[in-house]
């Protein structure tokens, strides 16, 4: 699979969440995603970026634009070195929140993308990868 573009931006402040949303939107347009798919991916990115900031204490977002020969897509990887997630299955459940939110973050975000992967180790950090194909 060819990686056409590989960018990395910090997620350290709320302003960075907005910058991340804009970068994802621009890339989604460039990759030819439909308006609905653009909106889903940007919303998913916003949810995960907020998790990286609020739960992970900040980190970064990597954006790759892909071409696997038949399809084009965008892969986003959010990494932090925060406290990690002890019970991933619980964290993925709708309605679960430790931050006073609605608890829609992870489970809801998974429904907005084609591929979703979460790796976390308590004390070491969390890495969330999401991918949306055109």
């Amino acid at each position: 699979m060819a990686v056409l573009r590989d960018d990395r931006i910090g997620v350290r402040t709320v302003d960075d969440i907005i910058k991340a949303r804009q970068l994802v939107r621009d890339s989604a347009i460039a990759q030819g995603l439909s308006l609905v798919d653009q909106t889903k991916l940007v919303t998913a990115a916003s949810e995960i970026a907020r998790n990286t900031l609020v739960h992970g204490g900040g980190g970064y977002m990597r954006l790759e634009t892909l071409n696997d020969g038949t399809r084009r897509g965008i892969r986003l990887t959010f990494s932090d070195q925060g406290p990690g997630i002890a019970d991933i299955a619980l964290a993925m459940k709708d309605g679960y929140s430790t931050a006073g939110g609605l608890g829609l973050g992870l489970g809801g975000t998974k429904r907005l993308v084609n591929e979703f992967d979460l790796e976390s180790e308590p004390g070491k950090g969390t890495k969330v990868t999401i991918l949306r194909w055109r």
């Binding site: 302003d15 829609l104 809801g108 429904r111 907005l112």
Partner: protein, 127 residues
């Protein structure tokens, strides 16, 4: 910091969100709108989100909060102009904005607010 203007139109307040909303801007809007509802004895709030292209769970929660707070203060909130792509995304995210009244555009939203004012639902005289 940029602020979102709150316009007074008779007994109603009109808020048009035209920026990619920063968290602080959203919190400020919630506070200012609450104060303006009380200061103007507003009967309704029209929240126009037709220029908004992303509503994540944070902004969705703020919209729900505004509707809830205004209801407690005896004012109705109607959210108007949600883009189709935003509606699809919100529902898939699991956030269908329960308890928030919606209308397709400002005209329909205003009609809804006016009719809500005429129908007395709790034994009080109609407004």
């Amino acid at each position: 910091m940029e602020r979102i203007p709150i316009l007074k139109m008779g007994p109603y307040l009109l808020v048009t969100i035209q920026v990619d909303m920063h968290d602080r801007v959203a919190m400020t809007l919630q506070d200012e709108l609450t104060q303006q509802i009380v200061a103007h004895h507003a009967r309704g709030v029209l929240l126009d989100i037709s220029s908004v292209n992303v509503v994540d769970s944070f902004i969705g929660r703020m919209i729900g909060n505004i509707a809830g707070i205004s209801r407690v203060l005896d004012a109705e909130t109607v959210v108007v102009g949600m883009r189709p792509a935003v509606a699809i995304t919100l529902v898939e995210l699991g956030m269908a904005l329960p308890g928030v009244r919606t209308a397709l555009n400002v005209d329909a939203g205003m009609a809804l607010l006016k009719s809500a004012g005429r129908i007395a639902t709790n034994g009080r005289p109609a407004r």
